[in-house]
Symmetry: C2
Subunit: 291 residues, 2 copies
Amino acid sequence: LIARLGVVGLGLLGGSVAKAALVRGVAQEVVGFDVNPTTAATAKALAIVSRVADSVDSLAAQVDVVILATPVGTMRSLLTILAAHERPWFMDVGSTKQSVISEATAALGKGIERFIPAHPIAGGERSGPEAARDDLFVGRHAILTPLPANAPELLVSARTFWTQLGASVIEMSAAQHDAIFSAVSHVPHLASFALVAHYADRSDGPLLFKHAGGGFRDFARISGSSPVMWRDIALANKAAVLPDLDRYIDALQAMRHAIADGDGPYLTDTMTRARSMRARWLAGEFDTPAD
Amino acid sequence: LIARLGVVGLGLLGGSVAKAALVRGVAQEVVGFDVNPTTAATAKALAIVSRVADSVDSLAAQVDVVILATPVGTMRSLLTILAAHERPWFMDVGSTKQSVISEATAALGKGIERFIPAHPIAGGERSGPEAARDDLFVGRHAILTPLPANAPELLVSARTFWTQLGASVIEMSAAQHDAIFSAVSHVPHLASFALVAHYADRSDGPLLFKHAGGGFRDFARISGSSPVMWRDIALANKAAVLPDLDRYIDALQAMRHAIADGDGPYLTDTMTRARSMRARWLAGEFDTPAD
């Protein structure tokens, strides 16, 4: 049990960590902070947090653990504030890990031993504390990318924390994390944002949206996500995202040329490989134990 | 009321037309045909059709109206068979219209006056007669792209048919139809197929799919669609699909370069335009009357 948990950033992710920690008895008290006072007040009014702190500095002085649930681009300045506080240990929930680790190393110095990089795989296009759910992490993966400086006991605490929120914990290197999530999350988000923005810009945009159906709705759903969060992710993970985007563009070009050439077998083969991989995935074939 | 309705192709679309026509009293009897005898037998066993015909020729000899619910690539040979039968009038349900009209013109000659090109906007990644639903068209658009040769009374019958199946009928030119559905349906399907196939081909594919979450699931859903149907659509509508794919690739390239250049404002602007267009769409802003 954590006596006092601090949560910085009370949107969907941070709000859900706070709410779940209280509801599931993981923390006795949750102290929250959000840069937007309205968000903080809403979180307090919804009893997602026990109390609201005036600043990150004041929050850090009161708690045993700090969860940083803010866009990846804010990590450096937040960790610089936290560096002055020797009691708490820290976890982020960011979608990229190598960039966060490099900012944390710069901000914390020797204090990096108290920082455990984490990424719970949960979310949704809704945002804000109103969207927070105490079961957001149940049945989900929580990825930890531990640092050489982290003490084993601290890692046990981090694993316990996410397990108690209902997640299965998987450990991997930060580089492997970033490569995997570039492919399965970052590039699909960028592809969805790019398509929907392009149609929004077309002069026949309203006519297109009038006739858009269920397939487009699913494809476009992730374009409802937070622009600031996804800008930060794209920039922070550019080392993995750029080659993945290039490979995706190549795959689209190959499909384009097959259509131009009337190459039916190429199209059927490609579509069949996609369809059968998706079917195997949905059948659970890749749900192997952590590796 | 139609005394005898014929449906060629008893998959999700054709099966749903047959089932809905019987359940909603649009036809007294439905005669079905499918090139796959198992599919036809299943449709009969599920009472989706009243009877199964041995051939398209025999079906056409028995019915007043024929609905062609087969992949776009089969239209020419089917319409050539139908051309010999003078009683029934015909509608297709294909996702492309200009190519179908040109094949119908070649196959039917003067008989083209009895052919009304139609596209009900309904579907799903499930296929086969087991997936057929009598409410598949309820609340959906049914697009007609009438020909100059179609008699006004026949158009009234076609409109009535889809209205009785629960759809709202919209008329437009075949060229406009193909331009709109290239953008909102064909390109998203190709983009989804290309991404999922590319990941299926990667050596780390199984690891990627292990970690794929809800965003990827939505993006990938339409890659579960029928490869033969989508091959035919891509090839039949290439005049609209190729420039749309090129523009989409350009949009992805622009996003790629913004990431490489660290151009945060470009990314935030693009993502915000996408997010806000999607929100306006979901709020019903583009659900204007037919134009």
